[in-house]
Each structure stands twice: as structure tokens, then as C-alpha cells.
């Protein structure tokens, strides 16, 4: 019990080493899926054993690590972290099943994903700044190679852009960490990277401001918020399907998670003072990138812009200083993870079959690959917040909570929701219907198209079940986050 969380974090890394040693394709795929399954079961077990009524972190383990710098191996979860851990392990399971048919260097591919898995699990459970930063940066190298080696035409450009942007952000994060650690040392005479230690300190306003912006830059690049979002469309467009799935479903959540875990509780006054900066940036993200999405003809780029738009809603809810909005923001992290993953899977499938992402080359597909059309629709409806699916609960709660204090902002954000329906339905129409616009040559070709295969089925069914479960019975997920929300908002 005590070490289950550590096991869940480090098991993928061990599997990655095993994969590197054995180098057998079948073994690689088997052990990767088995690892993801076991980790998923562990997180599910933790989720079921989680006590909703306790405010503190649970499943904590803490060991001294580098005493000279006050660094310890300290992990533990609250409701938010646990939900995101569940999402992470679930998404890796789906991505691993999806990639079963990969032929190009499968061992390295799965090994990199397993390394990424450990980094993602670690980010969400670390309670020590150093450990957090370690995992935060640790995800950079595997993702860089996943985009760079298995991407499409402009993969090198996209991989470099991804690396430089995120590295730029994380160094500011590091500077922020250094400044608060040094402040802690100056006031208490004890050097410590521990989260709980810093939670109990209260910083003066100037330091809160400084650290809020330094942390904020680091998180904003990862989310990504406007105007540092430009790496995301490129990274998504060039990344392989499973890479996009993990990038959208898990990696983007690290930034918003950082805001909720670090910025809000550690710098409460600064968060209140500069809330309008975040609001303005969020609304620009919601409206402007949604309009950008409408203008796209490349379906993956469209989905990428829609991700930025949805993440804008999450940051809006995070800073609305209202328990409902914050609950909604955390819920939406999970919901958006599921919907965007499903959308990227659908787009990736279309590319696998037709070798194009451009709407001009597509059209009328619903008739030839009907199963995909169904799953694509469900994914899209989840994304635009259709009631009964995972996306709705989060969006609704965010708008509800934000409306209480900031009705005008909530109203403008609501426009973004309408736009999201517009661009998704537009894309769906172009890709799946409008058969009359395609040439006879294409029609002939598409009669031979093969619909989704078994492993696609499994992946799609898994995400659809998750979407329905979250949409129809959100109670346990909202409940589990309640204490986090209270804790973060200082209740």
C-alpha cells in the first residue's frame, strides 16, 4: 500500500529498460500494454481506496534524498492528482493499444513512450519541487524523439520548436523555484524544496508577484496559453498519432495542473491581483484560437487549435476563485483529455488510410468507413460539450462558477462554446459527408477502404466508455476533487 504509488510511477521506466535489453518486438508490445494495464489497475485501486473526506495528501511516502539541498523524495496525491493519474495511465493504455501495428522501430518507440509514462506519472504525484522539475523536464527528451523520429514531413522543425519553447518555459519555472526556495531559506534558516514546507510559509506580495509570473511562464508554455501557443499546432500536426494523443491528453494538463497545485495555493494574493491578465489571455485563447480553428483546412491543425481553445476555458475556470469553476476546470482537464485523444485517433486513422489530413482531399467518408464515423462523432460531441458526455460537465461547471463573480467574462467564454460546435461540425461535414465534392477516382479508391481494425475498436470503445461514464455519472470524480478545491481556495 505504502509503495503502490512509487510502483505506479517507476514500473514503466523499468519496463522501458527491459524493452531495451530484450529488443523483441512481440515482447515489447506485450510488456508495454501489460505495464499500462497494471499501472491503470493500481491507480484505479488507489482511486477506490481514496478517502474523500480527508483534506491532506494521501498515499504519501517521503525519504531524504539530497540533504545538503533540502531535497527529499516526497510523493503523494490528492483528488485532482489522482484523477489525472487515472487519466494518464488510461491514456497510455489506449495509446499503446492503438500503436500495436507500428512497424518502424517499435522497440525504441515503445521504450520512449514508457519513459514518457514515468515522467507524466511523476509530475502529477511529486510533492517536492526538485522531484517535480525532474519529471517535468524528463518528459522533454522522449517527446522530442517521438515527434522527431516518427513524425511527418516537417518533423525536425516541429520537434525543435517544441523543445525550445518548453525548455524556455521550464527555465523560468526553475528560476521561480529557486527564488521561493531561497526566500524560504532566508526566513526560516532551512533550505527545503518540500511542497508542504512552502505551503506553510506565506510569502510577501513582491515575491508572490515575481514567482507567480516565473511559474506562470513555465506553465503557460505547456498549456499552452496565447501568445506562447504556436508550438502546439506544429507539434500536433507533425507528431505520430499516439504522440498527439499523449500530448493532448496528458502533457497539456501538466500546465493547468501546475496552476492549481502551485500558483493558486502558494501565491494566493498574486493570483487574485493578476487574475485579469489570466482572464484576458484565456479569453483570447478561447475566441481567437476557435476562430483560427474555423479557418483551418488541415484536420489535425484544427483539432490542435480546438485544444488551445478548450485549455483557455480551463485556465479561466482555474482562476475564477469559485469552487464550482475550479471543480469544473479540474474535471475538464480529464474530459478534454478523453475527447481530444479520441479526435486525434480518428484523424490519425484517416491519415493511415488516405495519407492526407486536408479537407480538400477528404469527403463522403461516412459511407465507406461508417464505424469510424460513429466514433468520430462521439469524440466530437464530447469535445463540444454535448450533455451526457465527458466534456459537458466541466464546461458547464466552469461557466456556472465563473458567472457568479464575472458574468461578462463567462458570457464571452460561452461564445467560444458555440464556435467550438461550429468548427467541429464544419470539419465533420467536410470529412464525412459531401460525397458529391469528391472525384470519381477517389470514390473508386474509397470503395476499397478498410474500416477500423480490432485494436482501433478496442481503443475507441475504451475512450467512448470513459466519456459516457464521466458524462453520465460524474459524481465520484467531482466528489474526489472537492477537498482539493477547498484546499486550494483556502477554505
Amino acid at each position: 500500500m505504502e509503495h503502490l504509488l512509487s510502483a505506479a510511477i517507476f514500473m514503466p521506466l523499468l519496463s522501458a529498460l527491459l524493452v531495451g535489453i530484450v529488443r523483441n518486438e512481440k515482447f515489447t508490445k506485450l510488456i508495454s500494454i501489460a505495464t499500462a494495464l497494471v499501472v491503470f489497475i493500481i491507480t484505479l485501486y488507489l482511486f477506490l481506496n481514496f478517502d474523500w473526506n480527508i483534506k491532506d495528501f494521501q498515499f504519501v511516502s517521503k525519504y531524504t534524498w539530497i540533504p545538503q539541498l533540502g531535497i527529499s523524495y516526497h510523493i503523494g496525491v490528492d483528488g485532482m492528482a489522482l484523477s489525472l493519474l487515472l487519466l494518464t495511465s488510461f491514456m497510455f493504455l489506449v495509446a499503446f493499444i492503438w500503436s500495436l501495428k507500428i512497424e518502424d522501430r517499435p522497440n525504441l518507440y515503445y521504450a520512449l513512450f514508457l519513459g514518457l509514462f514515468t515522467a507524466c506519472m511523476g509530475v502529477f504525484s511529486a510533492l517536492d519541487f526538485f522531484l517535480f522539475y525532474l519529471f517535468w523536464e524528463g518528459m522533454l527528451i522522449p517527446m522530442y524523439f517521438i515527434i522527431g523520429l516518427w513524425g511527418h514531413d516537417r518533423k525536425v522543425y516541429a520537434a525543435n520548436k517544441f523543445f525550445v519553447y518548453t525548455f524556455f518555459g521550464s527555465l523560468f519555472l526553475l528560476l521561480g523555484v529557486a527564488s521561493i526556495v531561497v526566500y524560504g531559506y532566508l526566513v526560516s534558516g532551512q533550505i527545503s524544496f518540500d511542497y508542504m514546507f512552502h505551503k506553510n510559509l506565506s510569502y510577501p506580495f513582491w515575491l508572490q508577484t515575481l514567482a507567480f509570473f516565473l511559474f506562470g511562464i513555465g506553465f503557460a508554455v505547456k498549456i499552452p496559453m496565447w501568445p506562447v501557443h504556436t508550438w502546439l499546432p506544429d507539434a500536433h500536426v507533425e507528431a505520430p498519432t499516439a504522440g498527439s494523443v499523449i500530448l493532448a491528453a496528458v502533457l497539456l494538463k501538466m500546465g493547468t495542473y501546475g496552476f492549481v497545485r502551485y500558483s493558486l495555493p502558494l501565491f494566493p494574493e498574486a493570483s487574485k491581483e493578476y487574475v485579469y491578465i489570466i482572464f484576458v489571455l484565456s479569453l483570447i485563447a478561447i475566441i481567437y484560437t476557435a476562430m483560427m480553428a474555423i479557418a483551418q483546412t488541415h484536420i489535425k491543425r484544427l483539432i490542435a487549435y480546438s485544444s488551445i481553445s478548450h485549455m483557455g476555458l480551463v485556465t479561466l475556470g482555474t482562476f475564477a476563485s469559485n469552487p464550482d469553476a475550479l471543480n469544473g476546470a479540474i474535471f475538464m482537464m480529464v474530459g478534454h483529455g478523453i475527447s481530444s485523444a479520441a479526435l486525434f485517433m480518428a484523424a490519425g486513422f484517416i491519415y493511415d488510410r488516405i495519407h492526407s489530413y486536408h479537407m480538400d482531399d477528404l469527403g463522403g467518408l461516412a459511407k465507406y468507413i461508417p464505424n469510424l464515423a460513429v466514433f468520430f462523432m462521439i469524440a466530437g460531441l464530447t469535445s463540444i460539450g454535448f450533455p451526457g458526455l465527458a466534456g459537458f460537465v466541466g464546461e458547464f461547471l466552469i461557466l456556472l462558477g465563473t458567472f457568479e463573480k464575472f458574468p461578462v467574462w463567462a458570457f464571452i467564454a460561452g461564445i467560444g462554446m458555440i464556435l467550438s460546435a461550429a468548427y467541429f461540425l464544419y470539419m465533420y461535414k467536410k470529412v464525412m459527408f459531401e460525397e458529391e465534392t469528391i472525384s470519381d477516382y477517389r470514390r473508386e479508391k474509397w470503395k476499397k477502404l478498410k474500416d477500423i481494425e480490432k485494436h482501433h475498436w478496442v481503443s475507441f470503445v475504451l475512450v467512448t466508455i470513459a466519456s459516457l461514464l464521466l458524462g453520465l455519472y460524474p459524481f465520484p470524480f467531482v466528489k474526489v476533487m472537492e477537498q482539493t478545491t477547498k484546499y486550494v481556495l483556502g477554505g
Partner: protein, 460 residues
Amino acid sequence: MDFTLILPEIILFIGILLIFFLDLFFEEKSFKFNVFIGGLVPIAALISLFFINYPSTTLYNMVYVDGLNLLGKGVIYIISSIVIFSLYDYFEKKRSVFGEIPYLVLTSTLGLSLLLSSNNLGMIFMSLELSSISIYILVGMLKKDYLSKEGAFKYLIMGSLATATFAIGTAFYYASTGTMFIKEYMQENSLFMLSMFFLLSALALKISAFPFHMWTPDVYESAPTPIVSYLATVPKIVLYFLLAKLVFIFSYTKAWLVLVSVIALASMFYANFAAYAQTSFQRIWGYSSIAHAGYFLLALTVAKKELINALLFYVIVYSFATVGAFTIMAALEKRQGFTHHLLDYRGLYKDNPGMAALLALFLFAFIGIPPMALFVGKLGILMGLVQSNLTPLAIAFVIASIISAGYYLKVIVYMFLEEGERKFTPAKASAGESIAILVSALAVILLGIFPNIVLSLLKW
């Protein structure tokens, strides 16, 4: 007179004589064997460190030993040993077998080892020269290679300049303080300022900081690669240990902070931009080492133990990473026609996945990605700077690090993400090279995850 205090130096000296005689009688036939003995000698010296009682002094206070310089000695013995083990195959493939190579590396190590345990500027001067002259010869050790001779000559000229400057600095130091021993001196007068200025210039030249950096890319490009891995690491570790002592005397002067920060900032920004213009991987390393001299000097702006500890840790792990990277490059260079032009690195991953992956590991370590140990060094310096109210320098450090990421990444892109045009035979690392690469890779990763192994030894 307690001779156990200089036991490691005695062992090194006996080893040098032994190889000298072996070479005298067997000439080139025993080259491999000489190299093997040469690699074992520093290990024997390393073991002898455990028999020394410290702190204590001997030879009329000329030699003193404490925990800190024992750590320094331990590190330079390990690095010298792995460098010597790694070099035989390179010189054989390059048809430049000279019997002097192993013991010249050892004489340099002997000089630097004496420097570490010396508190007297005269003694420091002498031991620094012993090491420098050995390295001048080593740089020109490639037969029928014009560039190597040119590099050696350039290094000799620049090095002599440093020698002269150091001597003048010592003279001024003696004139103002009345002693050659490094000890606290709280007054500020023009002679003392001059001595600070000259000593700093001489050391800046040796560690290749900005206005005195010109020799670095040329020497890195032209010297035999295993020798570069030696001269880029061992002398630098020792000089930073020396600077760590000097900073406590000189940082009382007003000019110190300004002077050192200007040198540091100029080094890191100049080098990080200039590196983008390079097409040769070796020259990129040259500029990278200038940039790192800048980072290290940032930690010397004020006399603060946290900063100095972070610096020494950083220098040690930096050296391991450098040795690892250069040994891989030496192994690659043994192939016919390989020039270290960046285009030759294209598609390296396809031919040599293992070596490309390890080289990428070292490059990522240089960028400062955790869990590699260089990250802990960067973090320590960053925190120390913020702690000393030098936040602008910390921000400059961060910006310089971001800029530097680009040119390291460029190499990774060439290795992994592009297709090669020229075909080379697959590179093979010799046994010695494999040892060097593995030891440094392990050091870089293990010290990144458990930095307290070294940090707990950094006691004052």
C-alpha cells in the same frame, strides 16, 4: 617531515619513471602495455589517498592537505586514468604512436596534483608550468598533421603569455602582502589590485574565458581528440579549485565583482552566439567550453560557500560529461575520412545507435536536462546567485542556457533526424574507450540522481 602527505605524487612520479624506462628499452613495441601501466598509476595514487591523515601540512608548509583538495585529487586521478586507458587505439589508428604520450599525461597530472595541495603562489606557478609544458607537447602529437602543430604552437604562445602574466601577478602579490602564501589580506591598495588583475587574467586565459579565449576553438579542433578530453577537463578542475581559494582573498576588492561578472557575461553570451556559426563539432565544443567558463565564473563573483560548492560539483560532473563526449568523438574519428564536420554526423544514429544515444545523453546533460548531473550544478549556481542578491546574473545565466540549447540540439538533429550522405564503416570503440564512455555516462547519471555522493565530500 611527513612524506605520506605526498604519497600520491610519489606514486605518480615512480609511475612516470617506470614508463619512461619501459619506453626507453622497448620503444614503440610496448606502447599498449605502457598505456595500460599509465592508466593504472593514477588508480594506485587514488587508492593511496585513503592512507593520508588530514588536515596537515608538510615540506615547510609548501604542501598542505585537507578534505577538499583530496576530493579534487581523487577526481583528477579518475579522469586521468580513464583518459589514458582510452587513448591507445586512437593514436595507433592515426599512426602516431609516441612512447611519451602516457607519461606526459601523467607528468601533467603530477603537476596539477601538486597544485591542488599548494597554498604558495611560487609552488603553484611551478606546478602549473609542469602541467602546461606537458600539454603543449601532447597537443602536437599527431604525425604529419599540420593543424596539430599549428594548434600546439598557438597554445604554446598563448600559454606562455599566461605564464608571464601569472608571474607578474605573483610579483605584485608579494610586493603588496610580503608573502607568497595565499592568506587573508583585508587591505586594498594599488599593488594588490594589480596582482588581482594579473592573476585573474592568467587564470582566465587558462580556463578560456572571454577576452583570452581565442586559442580554445583552434586547439580543440586540431589537437588529438583524447588529449582534448584531457586538457578540457583535468587542468580546469584544478584551476577552479585554485580560483575557489583565491576568491576568498580577492573578493574583498571592489573591482572583483564587476570584473568577474563582466568576464562571465561576455564569455557566455559571446560563445553561445558564436557557436551557432560553427560547422565543426569540435569547434562547437570549444565555444561550449568558453560558455561554461562563463557559467563557472558567475559562481566566483562573491565568496559564498554554497556557490563555491555548487561550482565545484558542476565542474566535476562537467568534466565527466566532457570526457565521455570526447571519447565518443575519438572513437568516431578513427574511421577513414571522418572530419567532425557537422555533416559527417548526419544519420549517425542509423550506423551507430549506441554511440549516438550516448552522445545525445551527454549533449542533453550539457543543455541541463535533469536527471543528468549538470542540472544539479546549474540549479546550485542559480540558487546561490539568487541567495547572494545577484538575481540579474541568475536571469542572464538562464537566458544564456536557453540560447545554448539550440546548438547542442542541432547536433542531435543531425545525428538522429537526418539521413547521412557519406557512408562510413561502423565505428568501434576499443576496450579502453568503452571503459571511459561507460564510467563517464554512469557518473553523469548517478551523480545526477544521487548528487550527495560528491556534495557530502565538499566540506570546508
